[in-house]
Amino acid sequence: MTTTDTDASSTALEEAITSTDPVTLAKVWGMGGMTAVLVGLVAGLLVSLERLDLDGAGVFGSADEVFQFWSVHRVALVLLGVLPVLIALGTTIVPRQCGANTLLFPRAAALSCWTWLIGACMTVVGFLVDGGLGTPGGGGQRQATALTLMGLLLVIGGLLVATMCILSTILSGRAAGIGLGDLPFLSWTTLVAGTVWLGMLPVLAANAVLAYVDLRGRPAVRFGAEDAIWEQLSWMFTHPAIYVLALPVLGIALDVISSATGTETANRGVLLVATAAFGFLSFGAYAQSFFDTPGTPIMEEAIYVLDAFVIIPIALAVLGGVADLLRRGGSNLGSKPPAPVVLLLLAVLLVVAGTVLGALRVVAPWDLLGTSVTGAQFTLIVGAAIIGMVAGLNHWGEDLLGSPGSPGLILLGGLAATLGVALIGAADAISGFGGQADFTGVDLATAGYPGSGVGALNAVALLGAAAFLAAGLIWMFAGVRHLMADTEAEVA
């Protein structure tokens, strides 16, 4: 049984909250995740606006306030946005791909969903009431920072339990006769990515617990110091950990393009190995520069640098798989290729661009680790993940909601998002080479005394942030319209 028994007097809200139906849970994960993506994009736009004037506070009152919005941009996109939407796909599409009757442990899945939602609300509120994950000047409210950390722990807990349900379904619930090597690529990449999440998210939780315990009630020893919290958690939002966000998108691309072109992937074994390698190279819990000991910093260690270079040919191999599908079956797409196919091709290209930029970032003589190249790479990879998962939601929307979505709006939003991501990525990458810091603050010293021309590039990045936000709004409109049409159809 996948839904809780409800009596005739129960309201729609009660039914939604007590439901263990994977489709209902996926709607909560999906809408909650996309709302968080919008929150992250708004924060990103405001920070871009602030960066137009590097030697003074314009939009915000202080560097600490800029930092709170700068960090919420990353947290909202990754932990509150991309991962939950990927969980939405894993909750509904993956069991069907595996031939499972339904998601295993539906009550645990429901618990995880609501735990995540409560945690996400606490996290956002924590940021809004002058908390967040610490500030460089220590100007935030300690209680609010503690609230943000507690929210973050609930978010991580929810994501972990949901991941366990999905992975258990893949391993134990799939139909007899389907081997792991026979799984569709979305299920396969979800299995790999989920395993990596189970390895990384608990480490992030350990960092957050340490900071929380040290922060509460007394002067912090080290871990809970306001100017140290973000540094301990930032590894989750940079190379190599962010690659794991893009992994399921590679699976979505291979599945959707294969389905749309009516062509089977050639060299399936190679692609399975390549996607698995992509996943395991994205394990980034070791790259905690805050805890560097005397000697070579972790970000200059061979493992970190090699990782950045080795992942490029792997991403290219997946791009090759996608290109091969289009070469052999492209004629079946007709003159107007479906929106998901276009968007997924763009997403894979952005992933490849992100991996190349990641390799350039670790070249020691250029000294780019603390520059806005880090932000550019984040935008390329996370942007690709967002575009790819929206394409996936559109492709499987009929399975989820019983009616097709709005491919025109999805395509329009996707093209705007791609333009935005490309503008931000290119502008921030060039600015990084010009010396602009990843977090620019409100004075030139914090911004790294960047060279001339950075002002114009920051204006380009602002345009990109606006285009990305516009894409988010278009997608949200399309999603809400789709959900409302579905509800009306149910009532009728």
Binding site: M164, L198, A205, A206, V213
Partner: protein
């Protein structure tokens, strides 16, 4: 005429698989904490800094706890064996003993921590130690509650050889609890 035996699915048991994933996540959590602990400790030692105050950490309580946990792992294995053989009396006994040893371990650790009177904010070492030991205590309490549930199910006749997955899943978790304590014992109590 011989009855046709229905084919059974060959998939791994879902509860045990889920428990393995959950236990893996817990191990990753402690892996992160231990990595930080040993890294910062090595750094402090390299600079010649004292890690814990002289005489603050005693060997005996940690050793007693380790012995308790090791013995509880044996009784947990006994519980699984008893359930597999539909030996309900031994299953009750083994589960109750395991839970009792878990409670004894929590009690002993709580007494020891309050007895040494070492404030949590003395240094990075004490903060890390309290977070690690405290997290482990939470893990033991979860395990004891799980065992209590299993005991109730066994009393209701639900933990049998045909429905043994929950016991096997709990055993997997409990072995991880014991293994983590072994690292705490060696890394914190012995190596100090």
């Amino acid at each position: 005429m011989a009855s046709v035996v229905p084919t059974t699915p060959t998939r791994p048991r879902s509860l045990v698989v889920a428990s393995a994933f959950g236990t893996g996540a817990v191990l990753a959590y402690f892996g992160g904490l231990f990595a930080l602990y040993f890294s910062i400790r090595a750094d402090a030692m390299a600079w010649g800094t004292r890690w814990f105050p002289e005489g603050a950490i005693e060997l005996a309580p940690g050793g007693m706890n380790m012995a308790t946990m090791a013995f509880s792992a044996v009784t947990m294995g006994w519980a699984v064996h008893a359930v597999l053989n539909d030996d309900r009396v031994h299953a009750y006994l083994a589960m109750a003993l395991t839970a009792a040893m878990g409670i004894a371990m929590v009690n002993q650790t709580a007494f020891y921590i309050s007895d040494i009177g070492l404030p949590i904010d003395t240094s990075q070492a004490t903060t890390l130690m309290f977070v690690i030991v405290g997290s482990h205590l939470v893990m033991v309490v979860v395990g004891v509650l799980w065992l209590g549930l299993l005991l109730l199910r066994a009393l209701g006749g639900q933990d049998t050889s045909r429905h043994r997955d929950l016991v096997s899943a709990a055993a997997l978790y409990w072995y991880a609890v014991t293994a983590i304590y072994a690292v705490i014992w060696i890394g914190i109590y012995i190596a100090k």
